[in-house]
């Protein structure tokens, strides 16, 4: 009743070799072959054989469990959604290794942001003894390579696309899969059309903006599993308040997704200390800040908010925007800005830059400094240099080799890395355990991603984080209104990102953006932000009561 695939090639080979005695093995060789095959045998259905094969890697309990669940219960199609820094890559590697040992994965494709390609190849080689190849500009032999690591952008190029789509991959791993949340993009459609038996999607933020993000990820693994998108949206938009529906979807997704949280894994051997530093503007700086307020009148509130926030970061950032405003204005209006541009030139060095230098000099340790603005990044590098402190820049826009190089320089030579937001993803900097958030993003969860770069699996020291904000400015406001409250809720429930992901009508990030854009006055911004925060508070309390 069960199919048995016979081995038809053996007897012809044997008959042939019996006529050519030089092709025959001696008794010892014959026994060795049998012994070798027995060593290679997979003796049982259950368990992870990969663990015996990798005695040099210390896997954590939650990683081993995740791999077992994916291989033996989820049957090889899953979303690995551990929080940042819990070792999703190790989990994926372990699953890959297990499938290779069990003879189920030979052709493997790993799609990852370009900046992570080298890191993947290195980890697969060192930790998993898996040789992986990556295409260079001209060379790519997709058919010949068993394990290939590349970026989606490279894979979907005209000259590669067809060969890749022809291959029946046994396993496909997609790193940073939240980038595939939009089903209308070319990337999404490309991934959707790949041939795959098993598939792993890796992301720390399975729901970035809205529930439909998750829908699209699930559709890559099991098309149709959550119905079709239109019905799905209708159902969950109309009834987004109804618990049953949400619970229903959670239980469905539970069969496909593994999400470990930091607090569940006992990974708090290294602690994080967050210090909110409130600094005061110098008189000249404050004067400039007040001066900007006069712009509120003739402009949308968003413009003032942007400028004010920029001034809290650096003169340079604010200057760039003013200049841009001037360029975009008609000739007669352009004159208005000259006054401000002139004034900003008179402002002395930024108070935050001084404080930053103080901190760095005092400890003598390595620091990573995050800023939202490129102009600030340049300014800080210059300022550090003036003070005899070595630094390297970092940005997500750097190409692969430049990123690797900057990371290497930071590790071996420079004391400080000055990074822009775009650099937040995909580099591991465990060797550093001091961070300054030089200016504050609107969304507190972004901070979490930044911290995850250094407070992650493998960090042996306590991590110290300084959040800078200027008193009596918009930054102070953000800190009081958003950061401190949210931090308080977080202490109460722990899994705040979960709640922030599930606000009806869009994520926290999304909400803040629309509040900023759609409000006419700062008063309106405040009220709306307060409402948003109380909604979060409400959900937090509800969650606490129900648990």
């Amino acid at each position: 009743m069960i199919e048995i695939h016979p081995d038809q090639s053996f007897i012809p080979t044997l008959s042939e070799n019996l006529n050519h005695p030089d092709k025959l093995a001696p008794w010892s060789g014959f026994k060795l072959a049998y012994q070798a095959a027995k060593f290679k045998t997979v003796p049982k259905f259950d368990g992870l054989l990969a663990l015996d094969h990798l005695p040099h890697v210390d896997f954590m309990e939650h990683q081993v469990e995740a791999a077992e669940t994916v291989v033996h219960q989820m049957n090889g199609r899953a979303i690995l959604a551990d929080e940042v820094g819990l070792g999703k890559t190790l989990e994926a590697g372990l699953i890959l290794k297990e499938y290779m040992i069990r003879g189920r994965a030979k052709k493997v494709l790993i799609l990852t942001p370009a900046s992570l390609v080298n890191q993947w190849i290195q980890e697969l080689n060192e930790k998993f003894y898996i040789q992986a190849a990556s295409p260079r500009k001209k060379q790519a032999s997709w058919e010949d390579w068993d394990v290939t690591v590349t970026s989606i952008d490279m894979a979907k190029r005209e000259n590669h696309k067809e060969s890749i789509l022809d291959i029946e991959y046994d396993l496909i791993i997609i790193d940073e899969a939240h980038k595939l949340k939009n089903h209308q993009t070319k990337n999404y459609q490309f991934v959707q059309s790949l041939k795959k038996t098993y598939c792993l999607l890796l992301t720390a933020t399975p729901i970035q903006n809205k529930l439909s993000d998750l829908f699209n990820l699930v559709s890559i693994l099991k098309p149709g599993y959550l119905g079709n998108l239109t019905d799905f949206k209708k159902k969950y938009r109309e009834n987004s308040q109804e618990k049953d529906n949400i619970q229903h979807i959670h239980s469905l997704v539970g069969h496909l997704m593994i999400r470990n949280r930091r607090k569940d894994t006992g990974l708090d051997s290294s602690k994080r200390k967050v210090v909110n530093e409130r600094l005061s503007f110098t008189e000249e700086e404050m004067e400039m800040y007040k001066k900007l307020e006069s712009l509120k009148a003739g402009h949308p509130s968003f413009t003032w908010l942007t400028l004010a926030k920029e001034l809290c970061s650096s003169r340079e950032a604010c200057y760039m925007s003013l200049n841009q405003l001037k360029k975009n204005a008609s000739e007669e209006n352009a004159v208005v800005y000259d006054e401000y541009i002139e004034a900003i030139g008179q402002v002395p060095h930024h108070i935050k830059a001084k404080r930053m230098t103080e901190l760095i000099e005092k400890t003598g340790e390595k620091f990573i400094v995050f800023t939202e603005y490129r102009a600030t990044q340049f300014y800080l590098q210059w300022y550090l240099q003036q003070n005899g402190i070595t630094s390297v820049p970092f940005s997500g826009k750097f190409n692969k080799s430049k990123r690797d190089w900057m990371k290497q320089l930071f590790k071996t030579k420079a004391q400080v890395m000055v990074a822009t937001e775009a650099g937040g993803e995909g580099i591991n900097l465990q060797f550093c355990h001091h961070m300054i958030n030089y200016d504050l993003p609107w969304n507190p969860m972004r901070l979490e991603q930044r911290i995850g770069r250094i407070h992650r699996f493998g960090q042996e020291h306590d991590v110290k984080i300084y959040n800078f904000a200027i008193k009596d400015t918009i930054e102070d406001h953000i800190m009081k209104m958003l950061y401190e409250k949210i931090e308080m809720f977080k202490n109460a429930v722990g899994d705040l990102d979960h709640i922030l992901e599930q606000i009806p009508g869009g994520s926290f990030d999304h909400q803040i953006q629309s509040i900023l854009k759609q409000s006419d006055s700062q008063g309106e911004v405040d009220i709306k932000l307060q409402n948003l925060v109380s909604y979060v508070e409400h959900t937090v309390n509800e969650r606490r009561e129900s648990s």
């Binding site: 081995d7 008794w27 072959a33 070798a36 098309p223």
Partner: protein, 267 residues
């Protein structure tokens, strides 16, 4: 220390069988001097050997040190289940030991020349494939004169001596049953063997196959997915769950064994 590292014995035997020598043998590690042939086979440096041959030079085969501890300072290749070099050796061993014709070594002299019966011995792996996977090694022998079938064959003959040439005062008998007929009988035996097994794994695989297929079909009927992705998904569900067994022969050969020896197996 704990039990003897099983890989250590294998590695030593492997290199000794193929003409390499052990030049250093300590409790914690041992060093092998490779022959040129073995270096070419397992060290993965084709350019070096290509160059040496072109220059008509001998080349300098490498030495390999193995250890059964993972202490870094000891140096050497740490032998454990996943050691990459060990897996290279497995593959080389299987490649080199695929077929054989061997005669049992008979020392004692008898008045009459002794007849040696031909046996076909086949070692195979049964790969169980379905929702989950495992392998089972199987070793079968068939006497090509009267068709007696023996299981666990390798375990029976493991400690006997065999040579590629026939011993003095013995003669090999001509097979009555052809190799391909004997092999077919082995396949039939395997079928029966599998049918008699506990087939829980097959049931589970089929259950999953059915569930996933039904789910997919319902999506297709309610037009949540188009025909294209339906067809593709359907195939992939088969890949993941459809239970089957793949028989892969590791090696096999003609073995000439005296009736005195085979008689002891019957009991």
């Amino acid at each position: 220390m704990n039990a003897v590292n099983p890989y250590k014995t294998f590695v030593k035997q492997f290199f000794l069988s193929y003409g390499c020598s052990i030049i250093d043998d300590l409790p914690s590690h041992f060093t092998i001097q490779l022959t040129s042939e073995m270096d070419e086979e397992i060290m993965n440096r084709p350019f070096y050997w290509h160059y040496m041959k072109k220059m008509n030079r001998e080349g300098d085969p490498m030495r390999l040190t193995f250890t059964d501890t993972d202490q870094k300072q000891a140096g050497g290749i740490y032998l454990h289940a996943g050691t990459p070099k060990l897996h290279t050796l497995y593959n080389t061993a299987i490649k080199k030991g695929r077929t054989a014709r061997l005669y049992e070594v008979i020392h004692e002299f008898t008045a009459q020349n002794r007849a040696m019966s031909p046996w076909l011995i086949v070692n195979a792996l049964l790969h169980y494939r379905g929702k989950q996977t495992k392998d089972e090694p199987i070793s079968i022998g068939i006497n090509l004169i009267h068709g007696t079938m023996m299981l666990g064959m390798m375990e029976k003959i493991q400690h006997m001596d065999f040579e590629p040439t026939v011993s003095d005062y013995t003669f090999p008998m001509t097979p009555v049953i052809s190799l391909s007929n004997a092999y077919k009988r082995m396949e039939r035996h395997i079928e029966t063997y599998i049918a008699q097994q506990d087939n829980q794994w097959i049931k589970e695989s089929l259950l999953h196959l059915k569930q996933e297929t039904q789910l997919l079909e319902s999506f297709y009927e309610s037009e949540d997915i188009d025909l294209d992705s339906f067809t593709k998904e359907r195939e992939q569900i088969d890949n993941r769950y459809k239970p089957y067994i793949e028989m892969e022969v590791i090696n096999g050969g003609m073995f000439y064994i005296s009736q005195e020896t085979s008689a002891t197996w019957i009991h």
